[in-house]
Symmetry: D2
Subunit: 350 residues, 4 copies
């Protein structure tokens, strides 16, 4: 079977590098085009990217030329779909110009909350994918599928089985987020050594709103969930990996063992369809008292598993647990690739 | 006026060093005796202590001999009171033997929850100090006054004005705690560089129980508060300073400005009596969106202020704010010294 | 061909974990026995070891029982050889008792400088291996082969081609060493966050003496080299990887290009024999001005390459370069395994 | 006596903040003007500066307005002298326009190596100050006095007594430099957590050339020293403080005790004149085997002392020691202020 030709928009950044890693030797997709801004265009990838993943740049892309972000690349490379991790500041027009040509799987926040755009975590709300059909009204040949913010993904994966099994009234989450989420130059070392920064611009708002769309039910559009979600977001001196301390008001009382089982047994379409990037299990439960930890657990399931631990019943109907996920794999590039795999298997890619 | 002669039990540890710093040139107290375990006894202080405070060991103690922990030191040095930061494993007997002779101000958890022992944060529940009179029934010539765990102190100081002004139904706190709280050898660098540890043994339980005694009302003994307090405690790669993300269910709805004013206006006996170690104000309110931060704010008010910020109304009656305090000063040695100053001014030290 | 049965002595430590990683699916060796001290013996490996390598414990050993260090294990498991990374304090007797039975490849310093014991870096002085025949005089059935200290290995690999091509008069090296070399509990986080420690006990002496034996020539015993080697050793806040700034007084003047070529072209028996753990190339030359860096380069060549860069002619005959190597792979477990592979191929293992 | 009115050019940066700290309550100088680039001009200082020194912004400047860098400030504020830590990219013109009006003490590299400009470390070559008289030929009313690069200062202070007592043939130094030297945004956290960067642009060249001018002898111009100095410069994850491992080929053989005494006894004009910022002693000798350390020792002598340790005779005439200094105090702002104090006492300020 012929693989689909794919391009990555924003190929040199922290998430772009994870796209390259995740698409190496991919069974469905063939990475043929690396696009980035003027600063990088025209250079070899090895010169354009400040590669930060241990083990070095894959040989297959090291000497590839980086192209300038331009929708003409679709025709030039005969692309079947694109992945995007470009900055929100330029995404509105650029992603629209690509989506009018081919399916576009985006990490950027720009289109996430629009009524006809699916905001998908493939392990949580795969059924929302059909929203792309609404986008025909835009007159596009392709469509946009978005995935949420990295910290939202790490939260909604464990919330989904809780919602299914117990019902959820409210969620209160505090995050300890890795640095790569802010981009290579995002956080100066002078800011964060021997320090934490109790603020990430826009992050709490994203967690509080995106979660509700993902956990909502699909009708003509998504009817957002009415769970009360409140978030406190912090940057900590960790390279990769978001740790989240989650308190949940469940709709009924429970025993810890029930929650453990709900997590362990959880699966959804990616697992059932055997998608290549699907983590199995989707949720990894730790029983040691001091896990999950970002450095030790972020690469579980090739960076796609959500690791949960410290599951406790703190009071009647009051559950507390920790969730850890790799912010640029599970929380970004890997999530996008998994969405594209889902779309592929379900026949949305032509 | 003659100063009172004081000794420090556990003088070489992280908290012991802060006792020495806080007692230098103290107007009421004269530090005459440094006691520690067999490992240190007999050495000069500069050789026994792994001094870690920038600026070096005060000359006044550098060459002083460290004595072996022994209640006979009371007579040998004619001590009027002692401060203790010895390990809980030995505190029960050692502190009792000192308390039977002189007032003993302890950082150790051993006696905190006993009915006749005051658990005091001088800025929060100074009235509980009179509990020491109950201890006469133990046949002691002195008494024990305890202060709570470091993370508890940073929490209850801002909770008190909220309780006074709005009433509190529940509290949900997530901590990001500095390393010094675990002792010099407590956390290996291999454990915490590029990592966080989402667990501190016994810490959540202490925050959840100690807070209720401190915020309780004094009768024949302390009647604990019935606020629901739940805590999630984390160790982060920060040397000193505990950051706490606090969500509070207030008993009535509120505006952010009311909370800001409740914090800014808060004072209690230490401020009114002008105690030497009392921070003024007790609570420092930051308006910048990214504060408080441990490295920047831990030394505010000579390490005795609690810095608060990111005060938000997240939903009806749902307040979220951050509190930061220096764990070995405000949260330990400084709190103990402030308790002793309160006892001194109120005539409990003879 | 039947694989040889091997055991690892000191299997739970930082180096022990790298032995397990390096021996997984090894073409010559089959890891059948994990031995450690009383603290670990009797437990499952997953419970005994504080596993710190990203990706988790290999399934093949996770549930294996850890045995108590005892030479009777040779018979119990019918071992053909053992690897040792036990503490120097116990190595003298324990390693002798194993070496009297089977070939023993040791990371420990105890036997390194003895006249009849080869101190080998397989890429540098493979010919010294024949010294083991001298050990027959000890009446042992096996023998001991040692590899040097981690920081020595990273130095002598690039020194060897310099010695061969230019001659060396003196070497002055300053190290910036990763934390894992000190063991999991070796360096407290309070000691090294926002700090460096300009001292590692015994390390400078080891670099200054071991290098001379390795670079010496083999006669009846090794005739040590008379190069003047001086070292300054530092612990820095890096998890794995030793960076070394090396100044070398060459015996003749040179051009940078000659040194680059000497490094790039260097190979020795491990490369020529195609040993499974041999890095190809042995020395990786970086041309970027800011490389090698420990986090980016320590895993080059599966952790077995030495990465060199910043090669400059600072004055006549005065060469300066940087060398970086993974301290627990290239500098310890991997070096030992490579020595055993060499011994295997050359017929020393029976 | 009336204090001299001074301004700081580049007042918001890492060094600018140290100027403000060092000029607070200064006995000779009164800080009246804070100047910076357009990005900061017009704002209150507390809003313009990302203040990073523990303890917070001095009240005296927090609400002061930041002025735009303009030589007209000399007349506006009736300035007697200025300190400069502006970027080299703009320094040539800006510093000249100030120096044509008033004495200008500069941290910037621009004028350091010009024949008529003194490059001064007040504890090392105070006599070079008279070079300013040569600058009259420029037609300036003021003059420029420069201090060297931070890493050079920490090196030449201990070299001077060695040169005086033993003579020096060559110096080989490897630095482990703190992050603040690169400016607040200079080093991304993604670059340096769990990592070191073995390269600082231009730094080795500065150490290798500036040292020779400072240690040179003054005639009509400075006759540079012919010591061979080679440097290897590294950025490490330390906030403040440069650690240097120094090997020195002395002109005669020596005993360690002689070096210790040469360091301890060393003083120069700043000490003899009792200048307010002069450290006493200039060189602090540590006898513990693991000192000096940046976090523990950088604030010695209010950040103005150079701490030395690990003094060893590695071979005949081959001395090795470590030197540590605070890069933005001893190595920058404090050095400039000390130069101005020297100029003041010696009558160069009118």
């Amino acid at each position: 079977m012929k693989k689909l030709a794919v391009g990555v928009l924003g190929a040199t950044g922290m998430v772009g590098q994870r796209f390259i890693q995740g698409l190496e030797d991919h069974p469905y997709f063939d990475l043929v085009c690396l696009a980035a801004s003027e600063r990088s265009a025209g250079k070899k990838y090895r010169e354009a990217a400040k590669w930060h993943i241990e083990g070095g740049i894959p040989e297959s892309v090291a000497d590839q030329r980086v192209d300038l972000l331009d929708p003409g690349l679709v025709e030039e490379y005969d692309l079947d779909l694109v992945f995007s991790s470009i900055p929100a500041s330029v995404a509105k027009d650029v992603e629209a110009s690509f989506a009018s040509r081919v399916p576009t799987f985006s990490n950027t926040r720009t289109y996430r909350m629009e009524d006809d755009v699916p905001l998908i975590v493939a392990d949580v709300n795969p059924d929302h994918l059909s929203l792309v059909e609404k986008q025909r009204e835009r007159g596009w040949d392709g469509f946009v599928v978005t995935n949420p913010n990295c910290s939202t993904i790490g939260l909604v994966v464990p919330l989904k089985p809780l919602l299914d099994v117990f019902g959820i009234d409210w969620v209160n989450v505090t995050t300890l987020q890795g640095l790569s989420g802010a981009g290579y130059n995002g956080v100066p070392s002078m800011a964060v050594i021997d320090n934490i920064i109790p603020y990430i611009g826009g992050e709490e708002e994203k967690m509080e709103s995106e979660s509700l769309k993902i956990l909502g039910s699909l009708g003509d559009k998504v009817d957002c969930s009415d769970i009360q979600v409140t978030a406190s977001c912090n940057r900590v001196p960790v390279l990769d990996g978001h740790t989240e301390a989650v308190s949940v008001g469940l709709s009924r009382d429970f025993e810890v063992e029930e929650v453990v089982n709900a997590f362990k047994d959880y699966e959804n379409e990616p697992q059932r369809l055997g998608l290549p990037s699907a983590p199995c299990p989707a949720i990894l439960v730790h029983e040691e008292p001091d896990r999950p930890q970002p450095r030790r657990d972020r690469l579980a399931g090739c960076g796609m598993a959500v690791s949960c631990g410290r599951i406790m019943r703190k009071a009647e109907r009051l559950l507390r647990f920790y969730a850890l996920s790799h912010n640029t794999i599970r929380g970004a590039a890997g999530a996008s690739i998994l969405n594209a795999e889902l779309a592929y298997k379900k026949g949305f890619l032509g």
